[in-house]
């Protein structure tokens, strides 16, 4: 594994006019690391991801992604959202959805090129949905849809992939399939995955980033079942308005 850093964050603070959402965040993510990001709802996970992708600007601090300011490097990031914001009856085929990952890489005007289509085919093949390419997006099962969204994130040939709870709506078997797939992709791509299921993913990831306004990083080798319990328990305990 190469040791050069792809995401460098130092002394980062963020708030929307009110109380601090993120405080004194510091992390250095190296190439081809597989990072699990955990934290209760409202802990600032999504905010931190948005800062890394250049959608939000930190109130204070330093962020560099692939050696550039985030808004310049966002095109190199493959993103898979937590919830699918689109309507399932939208008339669109799987391959057209996957092609959208090429935006930012393809020409500004006209239709998608042969290169774009080849990239889309390759990523559909990589995640095993090539046979679904002509299907309407609304006709897919939950697990198939998650794979298609991973393919879309892959089509830009990203250096970094960010997945926000990619297995929130699928069963254990599909969850396992998806993480096995991510592990394969991890050979060439740095992966950050937001999840609540820290016990399950510890076998896949290198480090866990625990966020709850502040960030603490643990190498997976330090994690035992008990420390996971304690860590998550402590963090849950710190948030007085949690729902679980």
């Amino acid at each position: 594994m190469s040791t050069d850093s792809v995401i460098k964050i130092k002394d980062l603070h963020f708030s929307y006019d009110g109380p601090k959402i993120l405080e004194d965040i510091e992390i250095n993510i190296r190439r081809n690391e597989f990072i699990g990001m955990v934290g209760p709802n409202g802990s600032g996970k999504t905010t931190l991801l948005k800062i890394i992708m250049g959608v939000l600007t930190p109130s204070k601090g330093f962020v560099e992604v692939l050696g550039k300011p985030p808004f310049q490097s966002v095109k190199e990031i493959g993103y898979m959202p937590q919830l699918t914001p689109f309507s399932r009856d939208f008339p669109i085929r799987v391959e057209d959805v996957v092609l959208m990952g090429r935006l930012g890489k393809t020409s500004r005007i006209g239709f998608f090129s042969k290169t774009d289509k080849r990239a889309a085919e390759k990523s559909m093949d990589d995640v095993g949905v090539l046979d679904l390419r002509k299907r309407a997006i609304g006709s897919l099962s939950g697990g198939q849809l998650q794979r298609v969204l991973i393919a879309r994130a892959l089509t830009c040939e990203p250096k970094i992939m960010i997945l926000d709870e990619p297995t929130a709506n699928v069963d254990m078997k599909i969850e396992k399939d998806i993480f096995n797939l991510l592990k394969q992709l991890n050979a060439n791509i740095t992966i950050i995955v937001v999840t609540h299921d820290i016990g399950f993913i510890s076998q896949y990831i290198n480090r866990v980033a625990c966020i709850n306004r502040t960030l603490i990083c643990h190498p997976t080798s330090e994690l035992t079942g008990e420390t996971i319990e304690n860590m998550y328990g402590t963090h849950m305990h710190m948030v007085h308005h949690h729902r679980d």
Partner: protein
């Protein structure tokens, strides 16, 4: 009559292409706001003895920009602001028309269209706007698709989402101006959305949806024209009722289509 047929064919192109976007992006209400507020521009043009289509074009573009800005910046009040502009624009139009000397026959044709009175000049305008709309859609097809399908993702791919949204509203405005010539501004929304909505019941991609919606638009406008001709009914409302009837039929039959 010849003009009417050519007019309906030309209008159906814009209606099928832009109507499909309006349906999948679910901005029918916003498009309705643009359509109705356009009466303000038509009334002013009428008062100044200019061709109403010029006033309609200016008003549609101005209102599209205002509504676009509102829906991007004042998301919470979007509904109210659209309603206010909708009614305000119509009120301005009616005031100007009432102050114009002479018979106010034209008010009815603004509101409900008069495809049989469509002039050669109007056809020229419609054809020009069609070409403009098609060029823009061909250039930015993938961006419009991305913005209507998943705006957040499009933004994360570094796309200027807001600029495309405004450009898209300009296209809606141009389409509305075209369709007003056929069915009048009250009925525009039905012609803009019904063919596309029917088409959406059966297809799996946006470009097919547009194509199918365009043919449906031609079928409805010409069908309505034909039905209205002998009993001497107003063609605009007849066209809308034909489209509406097919929409209801399709809504029912699409349930069986999807299940099988």
């Amino acid at each position: 009559m010849q003009n009417a047929i050519v007019g309906s064919i030309l209008a159906s192109v814009a209606c099928g292409v832009i109507g499909s976007y309006v349906v999948v992006k679910r901005i029918g209400y916003l498009a309705g706001g643009i359509a109705h507020s356009v009466l303000g521009g038509m009334g002013i043009a009428y008062y100044l003895s200019r061709p109403p289509i010029e006033g309609a074009l200016v008003a549609a573009l101005v209102f599209a920009m205002i509504l676009g800005w509102v829906s991007l910046r004042l998301k919470q009040q979007e509904d109210t602001v659209i309603g206010a502009l909708w009614a305000g624009g119509m009120a301005v139009g009616i005031l100007f028309i009432s102050q114009t000397p002479g018979y106010n026959i034209d008010l009815m044709s603004f509101l409900f269209g008069n495809i049989l009175m469509i002039s050669f000049d109007d056809l020229f305008w419609i054809a020009g706007l069609d070409v403009l709309i098609l060029i823009i859609v061909f250039l930015f097809y993938k961006q419009f698709l991305a913005v209507s399908f998943d705006e957040e993702f499009a933004r994360l791919r570094g796309m200027p989402v807001e600029r495309f949204y405004l450009l898209f509203l300009v296209l809606v405005a141009l389409t509305v101006v075209i369709l007003i010539q056929i069915v009048g501004l009250i009925l525009v929304i039905a012609l803009l959305t019904l063919p596309a909505a029917i088409s959406g019941h059966y297809v799996r991609s946006l470009n097919l949806m547009m194509l199918f919606a365009t043919f449906l638009g031609m079928f409805f406008t010409m069908g309505g024209l034909a039905i209205s001709y002998h009993p001497d009914l107003p063609p605009g409302p007849t066209i809308i009722l034909v489209a509406g009837a097919f929409y209801l039929l399709s809504l029912v039959s699409a349930r069986f289509w999807k299940k099988s």
